[in-house]
């Protein structure tokens, strides 16, 4: 049965989508069966996985509304080696449409359970806000991967996220835990980044992943080609970082 992880951070622009698609591609590369679920109406993780969000007939929106199953709505990204449960702007309507539905925050979990046998990993790209969509992601997951830049304000956003996860853990999903903090866009030449990284290690200990994703222009360029960096330029340092991170995740879930 698949282990399900949300990639979340309530701060925008921290590399959430980049982490989701590159971890998915990295896991596929090390032989894992992966489903990537895009829960952000912007659909960037869908497009960044080589799937055109404008051409999707069924999306995660249909799954949340129970008009399609995961098996019906998923598509294969041949270039990337993993399956995609895609999103487009239609998904924004779920916030309005599910508001009166009972157990609305459990809809994704129920749907994923039916397909969990097909995968080793299911990765969910959450929107940056704490919305009903994010709650669906958090209620579905065994754990949360938190990508973060080692900058001064990074810890402020983290406090909000930790509080949210505690509340979801207490009230909706006893399985939920922070799997780890992933340092991304890291530049060791910048003293402040090194200092924040050291603080993270001191404060969160082994909750900080060993892998560090370096700042890398090839990772930034890849989305414009509709691909994760790991597929677009496997030799780039950032891409190699994500494959290393994928292996670390495989090792880490063995201990879960």
């Amino acid at each position: 049965m698949a282990k399900i992880f949300c990639v979340a951070n309530q701060k925008g622009g921290v590399g959430k989508t980049t982490t989701t698609v590159n971890l998915a591609a990295g896991l596929a590369k090390v032989g894992q069966r992966v489903l990537m679920v895009d829960l952000d109406p912007q659909g960037n993780a869908t497009m960044g996985s080589g799937v055109d969000k404008r051409k999707l007939e069924l999306t995660v929106y249909d799954v949340l509304l129970e008009s399609a199953s995961v098996v019906e709505a998923r598509v294969k990204s041949d270039k990337c080696g993993y399956d995609v449960l895609g999103a487009n702007r239609e998904l924004a309507g779920a916030e309005v449409e599910l508001v009166e539905v009972e157990r609305r925050e459990q809809r994704l979990k129920l749907a994923l359970t039916a397909a969990a046998g097909d995968y080793d990993f299911i990765l969910i790209d959450c929107p940056p806000s704490l919305s009903m969509l994010t709650l669906n992601g958090l209620c579905s997951a065994h754990g949360v991967i938190v990508p973060m830049q080692c900058e001064y304000f990074a810890l402020e956003g983290l406090t909000d996220l930790v509080n949210t996860i505690k509340q979801v853990h207490a009230n909706m999903n006893k399985d939920l835990q922070i799997i780890g903090l992933l340092r991304v866009m890291f530049d060791p030449r910048i003293t402040l980044q090194q200092q924040v990284s050291d603080q993270l290690k001191a404060h969160f200990g082994d909750k900080v992943f060993n892998t560090v994703i370096p700042r890398n222009v090839r990772l930034a360029e890849a989305p414009s080609y509709g691909l994760p960096g790991v597929v677009f330029d496997p030799a780039a340092r950032g891409s190699q970082g994500y494959v290393e991170f994928a292996q670390e995740m495989v090792d880490r879930i063995k201990k879960m």
Partner: protein
């Protein structure tokens, strides 16, 4: 009521510069609900945008919908918990998105919600509207609990129908805006 609380809901492809909705926007300061994608409308996206705009008004809004905007108003009324934030709606020339060729293009808009609207409304229908048969429009009005008005032969009740700033329609709106 304040003009900023009158929300204009254009249909697919937006209302152009000569459309009465655009002329009312310019003349009276009503507010257009701007959608992310006018040419490829996604119902969920349009619903979320309307909800956001209604919630950002400082008193209950009056909706002025044309074409697909009418179908949007009905879909929103059937789902939102905030329908008390709408005072009334003027529904002009609803488009029948259940017509086979339109259904293929806009699959997520079918079926059309046929619940009674949560607010008073007036629906105007034209007898030679290429986007909706007259009897279908009457059916919508009946289902939505809207006051039905037969507007004769006036096409899709848009700029092509030669309405210009459509003062007659504006009188109807002003009635709906009254307390």
């Amino acid at each position: 009521m304040k003009s900023s609380n009158v929300l204009l809901l254009p249909g697919r492809d937006d209302s152009g510069p000569q459309h009465w909705q655009t002329l009312w926007e310019k003349r009276h300061g009503y507010v257009r609900v701007k959608q992310h994608d006018w040419t490829r409308p996604l119902r969920g996206d349009w619903l979320a945008r309307l909800e956001e705009m209604v919630l950002s008004r400082d008193e209950p809004a009056v909706l002025v919908a044309h074409s697909l905007g009418c179908i949007l108003a009905a879909a929103w009324s059937a789902r939102s918990l905030n329908t008390h934030r709408v005072k009334a709606a003027l529904l002009v020339a609803p488009s029948d998105v259940e017509q086979a060729e339109v259904r293929d293009q806009l699959p997520t808009w079918s079926p059309i919600d046929l619940n009674a609207l949560a607010f008073p409304s007036v629906l105007l229908a034209s007898r030679n509207d290429p986007h909706c048969e007259f009897e279908r429009a009457r059916l919508f009005a009946h289902a939505w609990g809207a006051q039905f008005m037969d507007y004769g032969e006036c096409g899709h009740i848009n700029a092509q129908a030669g309405l210009a700033s459509w003062p007659e329609g504006h009188v109807l709106l002003q009635d709906l805006m009254k307390d």
